[in-house]
């Protein structure tokens, strides 16, 4: 296994552990944006959650398959894998179709190049 493959596998395993297991321990209080809306727009509202939901409005797109399962280990794993596949696949596709020589278009490794 090349060093890069090892790094990628290691990084992906860390992400899967965080998204699949550690995510169960995430705090559930409102986040910064929600808190700011509650503290300003919903100040004095009897039910701040309801007020927040009303301000957020109905989702325009409401077909998200995992909308109700955000905190399950499976949804974390699926999200991590989707991001890995789409992010990595997109860039791989771009590089493959660039028509450049293998190794990219850089004339030499950037190690010694001064940027700026």
């Amino acid at each position: 296994m090349s060093r890069t493959t090892g790094f990628v596998v290691g990084g992906l395993v860390v992400a899967l552990l965080i998204g699949g297991i550690l995510s169960s321990f995430a705090a559930s209080d409102p986040d910064g944006l929600e808190s700011a809306v509650i503290a300003t727009q919903c100040e004095g509202a009897a039910d701040s959650d309801a007020c927040l939901s009303e301000a957020a409005g109905d989702p325009v797109y409401n077909a998200a398959p995992l909308a109700d399962y955000r905190l399950t280990p499976l949804s974390g794993v699926l999200g991590v894998l989707a991001c890995f596949a789409i992010g990595g696949g997109l860039v791989l596709l771009l590089k493959r179709t660039s028509g450049a020589a293998p190794g990219g278009t850089r004339p030499e490794p950037r190690t010694r190049q001064r940027v700026e």
């Binding site: 989702p59 998200a64 974390g76 771009l94 190690t111």
Partner: protein, 236 residues
Amino acid sequence: MSTTSILAMHIPDGFMDPATAVATGVVAIVVVAVALRVAKDRLDDRQVPLVGVTAAFVFAVQMINFPVGLGTTGHLIGGALAAILLGPWTATLVLAVVLLVQALGFGDGGITALGANITLMGVFAGFVGGYLYRALAHALPRSRGGYLTAVGIASWVSVVGASALCSLFITFGGIFGASEAVPVFATMIGLHALIGIGEAVITVAAVSAVLATRPDLIEDHDLLPEQADRGAAVAA
């Protein structure tokens, strides 16, 4: 518990005027289009796998809301982290992928607010975080401590700055109106000054891990601490 308060919420559909949604959508489309071009032409082949790993890691860590006091939580944005590892353009791509997966798959962040969320967490956090990191890393001593200080400060500023820009979107450009601007800005910036500390801690930890294992994968080798830079040169 209502669905909106279960987890990290990016900007939902209802917070912004249509004009703001369209304008930020255009910004996001233009920057992502350029970023695709930049990735195609300039991204180092060795960094290609890092793009997928960074997107996966940012998605995972964004799930982890941590308490910052005052009954409030925060989570990583990851724009600065991605920019430090891959440069600001590719950081925008990474965050666009993460935010797209969250919006389409998990209902997190409104689909009409996707442009604003990409503009804030990808474009703004990526470019402000990335360029501030470069400037600070140049200015500070080229030691491990100096380097990681630059990483931490840039991450913190990227979050606080993004919260100010978000406030602009939802007040002057959104449903809360100009009359609510002062309290919204004050609360958003105040809370994100705390959340930004978490961003800095996570980003420093993640960059330290890459620095310890594969420093050659990090953009801008000339910014790295001297020892890591030598390691990167050997590995390259």
